[in-house]
């Protein structure tokens, strides 16, 4: 491979630093090299220092911390935090600081490459961008003509400087509905979409702190007194933003109480007042027990629930939806809701928000028009009736007293709490159930849009980091061909398709064959479930294009074209952070790398030029409903800056800009604001304007696709119902592979349940090629409780086989009480050091958690979520150790030390 030879020509560490400003500045400022720290002359140092400091922001993860890049002679020589960011406040984590080693990594893809010879080989030829784009566009057009454009699939991934909306936009532009990413149904979509359905405050506004929600918590005057970190670890996942915010809140005079629900004792858990090391895959059981306890102990905010939730609304037992006035035989329309008035003991049509003098019953079942109608609250109560704290303790492997202690903190009448819900619940089939239940808890407690609550509806920034996509470019016929469209309608929210079906389509051509695959992501082997399936599905795909900063195992094994995209230090993007916008601007540009959006648009433009009529429509304001695809960097920036009045150049110069004051930004209780048209409070963005504790919107989605089914012909169109109703309330299902004896999915051969989780030095499948990070964490640790270690003969610090029903792989055992008995933890991993070896498959088989995980049924009904966490495995010693050639010692990573190079011209025209 073109890049393989570069690796051997690596400069030594010292030679890199000699090219850097550190020694330059020190020597030039006359400080003695022997004790270079004592007698610097600031005036002389400044005078001789030609280092330029560029304000930009990191994209080693999604947190976008503001940084200062020190540049000398066009080369980035140092990174430090920019204190102007209101979220990261000058902090940067190891990933961001190591950005130089990612940027100048000797493994960078430098030019477009085309495979020579068979897949699996490692021979490539350098081609020009023009040739690459023309080749690929020709292929798209040929496949579209021959098989239909839906035979092309497009995927992305969260790690390594991607831009999520791009792939959707690209897919729609080349007229394919089959766009996906392994996050989505397995990361963030469930929590975001559930919130859109039952809270309706628009995106994002949900419980995911790691996705930069919880804005009130970045202000130290927030009255929050306690937080529940439900499967989230800001100390690992959003170190300098969320992690920092929690550190600041804990350090206040009044402190911050925390409950951490996580099988791992993270550093958030170690500081918590209560740590609940829950069994992976059982969160719904605990959520039900919390609902039960809060109702039984009357800790909910009754007044709020009566006025601002649909808890008192009567439910029609036949439709399972809210009872309407017409169905109740009352005066009113089929849009009017009905409650039971406890004062007069009769049904009453709701006069929004609530009739004066009426006391709507939250609980109970009442006869209305010959039907036995329960309130939403009654159905909620029944749904969690059996879930006592003791029962949850048994199912979740927790201590009942500790659960109650946690509940006392969360429901303290003197305090203000909130739930931060993390990604684990998105990674097994109860994703939607857990997301709905956590929101129901927050609604019950009235934790909505108050100072100190997690859920907020603060003012939206006119600058957009995500440009959105153009779903209505696709015809109804095309949309209906999207994999999983009818069965898993929650995916409609992100206009993405169901991955297991795409894999089947690639492998077996059922219901039709996928012929071409674009992937823009880090290593799919590390993040896709049951990832050995890639070896089976790729042979039937005629053309595979990989776009990334480095070759991964995916490139090495399957790609026919490898296109080099930019690292974050070469990328432009404005990022809203609270009441400011933070810039990410290209600090340098290397080789022939191209920002991915510019790659996508050039492919679409070429398709159109070569006669693809669908592609031409992407630039037509009418066909795109005013949302045309940009043609170049200039047009892109204009779209991002929107109506803000801030220009891109201005933002680049200032680095961080306020777009409104803090007071204007922090808008509380927006739902109470009077709507001038009606003279009544605006309410929430649900059809009823109420928070849906009884999530009928979920059921309606499953039956019709409303509100997300859309196509070129219609803004909303009705899609046939899924095979079973989407339930409006949470329920518990024991994981399909269960570690509990007697459970249906129990297999004594696989007695332990395993989970994964975040680490602070990596993001998804990224950065395993960065020496400063790999020396900290060279190989994945397998956390195992001392009791299990003894039982299965595993010693601390020894290599261990982990085997699931699908495959086996290795982990380096860490015997620790930071994980409870019966549970294992290992983070996702892959080994780039094997890419150019005789056995490149070792890169993704040697120690990769995701060869173990599970992508077959059961799936979450709403999103098709498969099982990345909470499946079962066995462990046994691996006396043969890691495969030869595994890099573990710090000096092993020397070949990957940075190879700095001078900036190059951009490949494509800026556009203005």
């Amino acid at each position: 491979m073109a890049t393989a030879s570069q690796a051997s020509a690596t400069m030594s560490r010292r030679s890199f630093v000699k090219a850097s400003a550190l020694c330059g500045a020190v020597a030039a400022s006359g400080i003695a090299a022997t004790d270079c720290f004592v007698k610097a002359d600031p005036a002389r140092a400044a005078e001789s220092n030609d280092v330029k400091i560029v304000k930009t922001s990191c994209r080693a993860c999604i947190a976008a911390c503001a940084v200062l890049a020190h540049v000398q002679n066009g080369r980035v020589i140092k990174i430090e935090g920019n204190p102007e960011s209101p979220m990261s406040m000058g902090g940067v984590c190891a990933k961001g600081l190591a950005g130089i080693q990612a940027l100048y990594n000797p493994n960078r893809l430098q030019y477009p490459l085309r495979r020579v010879g068979e897949r699996g080989g490692n021979d490539w030829e350098r081609i020009s961008w023009d040739e690459a784009i023309t080749d690929i566009a020709t292929k798209i057009n040929e496949i579209s003509d021959k098989y239909g454009s839906e035979a092309i699939t497009v995927s992305t991934g969260g790690g390594g400087n991607p831009h999520f909306s791009n792939v959707k936009w690209f897919g729609e532009s080349i007229n394919t509905p089959n766009v996906w990413e392994p996050g989505c149904a397995q990361c963030y979509l469930p929590r975001m979409a559930a919130s859109q359905l039952v809270y309706g405050a628009g995106k994002p506004n949900n419980l995911s702190f790691a996705d930069s929600n919880g804005w009130d918590y970045y202000f130290d005057d927030t009255p929050v007194t306690s937080l529940v970190l439900w499967g989230t670890d800001p100390s690992n996942s959003s170190v300098a933003t969320g992690g920092r915010a929690l550190a600041e809140l804990r350090a206040r005079e009044q402190g911050l109480k925390t409950v951490v629900i996580d099988p791992r004792m993270t550093l958030d858990a170690s500081k918590a007042d209560v740590w609940l090391p829950i069994r992976p895959g059982t969160d719904a059981a605990l959520l039900l027990a919390w609902e039960h306890w809060i109702i039984e102990n009357e800790r909910y905010d009754a007044e709020f629930c009566k006025t601002w939730t649909n808890m008192p609304y009567l439910i029609n037992p036949e439709t399972r939806l809210t009872l309407k006035a017409t169905e109740a035989g009352l005066e009113g329309t089929d849009k009017d809701y009905v409650v039971w008035d406890s004062k007069t003991n009769q049904p009453v049509v709701v006069d929004y928000p609530m009739n004066e003098g009426v006391d709507p019953a939250l609980f109970g079942t009442y006869e209305v028009n010959g039907m036995q109608c329960s309130t939403g609250g009654e159905l909620l109560k029944r749904s969690c009736e059996e879930w006592t704290v003791e029962k949850a303790a048994e199912v979740c492997w927790l201590d009942a007293d500790q659960i109650v202690k946690a509940l006392e903190i969360y429901t303290d009448p003197e305090g203000q709490s909130g739930i931060m819900q993390g990604v684990p619940i998105d990674q097994y089939p109860q994703s939607q159930q857990c997301a709905l239940a956590a929101l129901a808890l927050e609604f019950l407690m009235g934790n909505v849009e108050k100072p100190g609550t997690m859920l907020q509806n603060f003012k939206g920034c006119p600058v957009k980091d995500q440009l959105g996509n153009t779903p209505r470019l696709l015809s109804k016929e095309k949309v209906m061909k999207r994999a999983g469209y009818i069965e898993h309608k929650g995916l409609m929210d992100w206009d993405m398709c169901f991955i297991p079906d795409v894999m089947t389509m690639m492998k077996d051509g059922d219901p039709y064959q996928i012929h071409m695959w674009f992937d823009r992501s880090g290593n799919k082997h590390a993040v896709l479930g049951n990832s050995l399936q890639l070896d089976e599905v790729t042979p039937n795909v005629d053309c595979i294009v990989h776009i990334y900063m480095y070759p991964t195992a995916f490139t090495r094994m399957y790609a026919d074209y490898a296109l080099p995209c930019t690292e974050w230090l070469e990328t432009n993007l404005p990022i809203p952070q609270l009441n400011t916008v933070v810039v990410r601007q290209a600090v340098t540009h290397l080789f022939e790398t191209v920002e991915e959006g510019i790659i996508w648009t050039n492919i679409v433009q070429k398709c159109a030029e070569l006669g693809n009529e669908a592609a031409a429509r992407a630039f037509d304001p009418e066909a795109t409903f005013g949302h045309v695809l940009y043609k170049n960097e200039y047009e892109k920036q204009k779209q991002h800056m929107g109506t803000s009045g801030i220009t891109w150049d201005e933002l680049c110069e200032k680095g961080v800009m306020e777009w409104c004051s803090v007071d204007e930004y922090r808008t509380y209780e927006v739902y109470k604001k009077i709507d001038e048209k009606t003279g009544k409070p605006k309410g929430f963005g649900t059809p009823s304007k109420k928070l849906e504790i009884y999530a009928e919107s979920n059921t309606i989605l499953g039956r019709t696709g409303y509100p997300w089914a859309k196509c070129a012909e219609e803004e909303h169109f009705e899609v046939p119902p899924a095979s079973a109703d989407y339930e409006p309330l949470c329920y518990y299902v024991e994981p399909a592979e269960s570690p509990v004896e007697g459970a249906e999915g129990y297999d004594p051969d696989f007695p332990l349940v395993i989970t994964n989780g975040r680490l602070p030095m990596y993001h998804h499948g990224t950065l395993r090629n960065v020496p400063w990070l790999r020396e900290i964490y060279p190989v994945p640790e397998l956390w195992i409780n001392p009791a299990d270690a003894e039982k299965y003969g595993i010693e601390d610090g020894t290599w261990t086989w982990i085997e699931s029903r699908r495959a086996k792989t290795r982990g380096l055992a860490k015997v620790t009480t930071a994980i409870p008995k019966g549970v294992l933890y290992q983070e996702r991993f892959w080994n780039p050091e094997f890419l150019n070896s005789d056995d490149p498959k070792l890169a993704y088989t040697a120690m990769n958690y995701n060869v173990l995980s599970k992508t077959d049924a059961p799936y979450n009904p709403e999103y098709g979520t498969y099982t990345l966490r909470g499946f079962t495995v066995k462990v046994y010693p691996c006396p043969e150790g890691a495969p030869e050639g595994t890099w573990m010692k710090p000096e092993d990573f020397t070949p990957w030390l940075p190879t700095p190079s001078d900036p190059t011209e951009e490949v494509f025209d800026y556009g203005a």
Binding site: V38, P42, G81, C93, G243
Partner: protein
């Protein structure tokens, strides 16, 4: 004399290893070598009272520094102007006595220069009015730099916010480390030895 040092507030520290990387970038430290290393402590104790934290360890700026006493050439010395313990590489003969004498194992053997080196509190930055690299970019705002004898310094102000039972040093065997760590008893026990 000034007692310049770093104070690390472990109540804030998220254990992200950023300080390790910041130190390497600023001071050009080789792979496998460290002037500042994050060390895991715990977990120990029984549920629900388990303690786990990470300690960034670096030269603790001992007031009575064993490394200075044992150095046969005067390479390990206390700078008369700043009162900081430093190493003069030109005088170092690589005997490693200081490494053996250091109670905390925070001195680094530079395999390339064959000399001992260690945290300098980023004197080249502080002399220009900047903060040490690890303090400047600490993701959790957990690191502080300054003079313990100056009540207005960042270190003194941070320590003043805590009760005595939350303020610790690594094991003091008469060498009086200036570096202090904050770890509140409500979060767990403190281990003097790492």
């Amino acid at each position: 004399m000034a007692r310049n040092c770093i104070v690390v507030n472990l109540d804030r520290c998220t254990g992200c290893y950023g300080c390790e990387v910041a130190c390497k970038m600023e001071n050009d430290i080789a792979l496998g070598e460290y002037w500042n290393k994050v060390v895991e402590v715990g977990p120990f104790g029984d549920y629900p009272d388990i303690t786990r934290y990470k300690v960034p360890s670096m030269c603790q700026q001992c007031e009575d520094a064993p490394c200075v006493h044992v150095c046969p050439t005067g390479a390990s010395y206390r700078d008369p102007e700043t009162n900081i313990v430093l190493v003069d590489r030109e005088k170092c003969i690589g005997c490693k006595y200081c490494m053996m004498a250091c109670p905390y194992g925070v001195r680094n053997w530079n395999a390339e220069t064959k000399t001992v080196e260690k945290c300098t509190l980023c004197g080249h930055l502080t002399a220009q009015g900047e903060l040490p690299a690890c303090v400047k970019s600490c993701a959790a705002g957990a690191r502080f730099y300054g003079d313990l004898d100056d009540p207005d310094s960042d270190v003194s102000k941070e320590l003043a916010r805590y009760d005595a039972d939350a303020i610790h040093t690594l094991e003091d065997v008469g060498n009086h480390p200036a570096t202090h760590y904050i770890w509140s008893p409500k979060h767990g026990e403190w281990k003097e030895r790492i």
